[in-house]
């Protein structure tokens, strides 16, 4: 054990090493490491937030899907109902129309029959009159017996 100036030299070296470490080694390294730790923490927080967002979004999607399904079911039901209604209405209308057509046709037929009967009667009357005329030409004066003739005609 001998103490000498080496001690001073070593102390100076030591002081320089400590100063250099304090200036150029420690701050950049610890700053970088702190920043990295912060970044990792931020990343984890962001991931957690993302997970929560995803869960919320999934829940909302499920809700909307359920709502949409319900709406669709309602729409289909309403449409079916409406369709039935339309068919019913159309049936009713068709039935009414058909009845009307039948009624019209019947009325026309009746009319036609009436008209045919009329013309037939007239023809029969005129035939009868003309027959009677031919028979009675000589004794019956048309002008004289016009009343009679008309009454006969009316009787047909």
């Amino acid at each position: 054990m001998e103490f000498n100036a080496t001690l001073l030299g070593q102390a100076i070296t030591f002081a320089i090493l400590v100063w250099f470490t304090m200036k150029f080694v420690w701050p950049p390294l610890t700053n970088m490491m702190d920043e990295r730790a912060k970044r990792i923490a931020d990343g984890l927080a962001a991931a957690e937030r993302g997970k929560q967002d995803l869960e919320a979004a999934e829940k909302r999607v499920a809700d909307e899907l359920r709502q949409a399904k319900q709406q669709a079911t309602e729409l289909v039901l309403a449409a079916e109902k409406r369709a039935n209604q339309i068919v019913d209405e159309a049936k009713d209308a068709a039935r009414t129309e058909g009845a009307k057509l039948v009624a019209d046709a019947k009325a026309q037929i009746d009319q036609e029959v009436l008209r045919a009967k009329e013309s037939l009667r007239e023809q029969v009357a005129s035939l009868a009159v003309s027959g009677a005329e031919k028979i009675l030409r000589k004794e019956i004066d048309a002008a004289k017996h016009a009343d009679l003739l008309a009454s006969i005609k009316a009787e047909f």
């Binding site: 054990m1 103490f3 100036a5 090493l17 470490t21 080694v25 390294l29 490491m33 990295r36 970044r39």
Partner: protein, 270 residues
Amino acid sequence: MASNATEYIQHHLTFWKSSHEGGFWTLHLDTFSVSLILGFIFLAVFATVARNAKMENPGRLQMFVETIVEMVDTQVKEIFHAKSKVIAPLALTIFCWIFLMNTMDLLPVDLLPMVAQWIGHTFFGADPAHVYLRVVPSADVNATFAMSLSVMLCIIGFSIAAKGLGGWTKELFTAPFHAEGLVMTIILAPVNFAFQLVELAAKPISLALRLFGNMYSGELIFILIALLPVAFQWILGAPWAIFHILVITLQAFVFMMLTIVYLSLAVEKH
């Protein structure tokens, strides 16, 4: 063999001195240069890594450096509760520098001295018997005391910074025995002062001698093992070297931890 062995050991335990007369202004050139080179290696590696540190995808060297920095940072944060910009870099420097100096113990005991002898003989025409080189700086009391006395200066500096010059001086005379009343205070003042001086002196002495003792004894045992026949050296050398891996790390760690503890005691208010 006996005188030969003694000579061999003595040769290994002699410093490479700047002058042969001795005296205070003699430098141990081996301790000084080896520790300086190791210190610069430490600074070069750590400063390069610090300058090129990447936040993402750090390389292996950066991870290694970060592990050490993290370890030191954790210890400092756990023990030292005041704010200080000095203490963490101080602790890191102490740990790495002492570790590197201790690591020189693991080199074969004859390797660097033989290189030195060859260089001295070939280029300077020196007598190989008078070329000395001790490669473990921490086995030199000058190196260990240089650090521990610097730590003691830090202790005093930290105390004064935390308590003020008056507060520190007052504490020198009023602790560890707290007196009540003026008379008792005056009676206890010299006792307290003596205790404080012993406490203050014991810290650097224990720090320095613990490291020095471990490294010196380790080196000595390596030298003794080197005296064995070559075929049998590994039987003792290998276990001792493996054990020494633990010792050199532990001694560096202990020196660093005690420095942090002493400094945290220094800033604490009683």
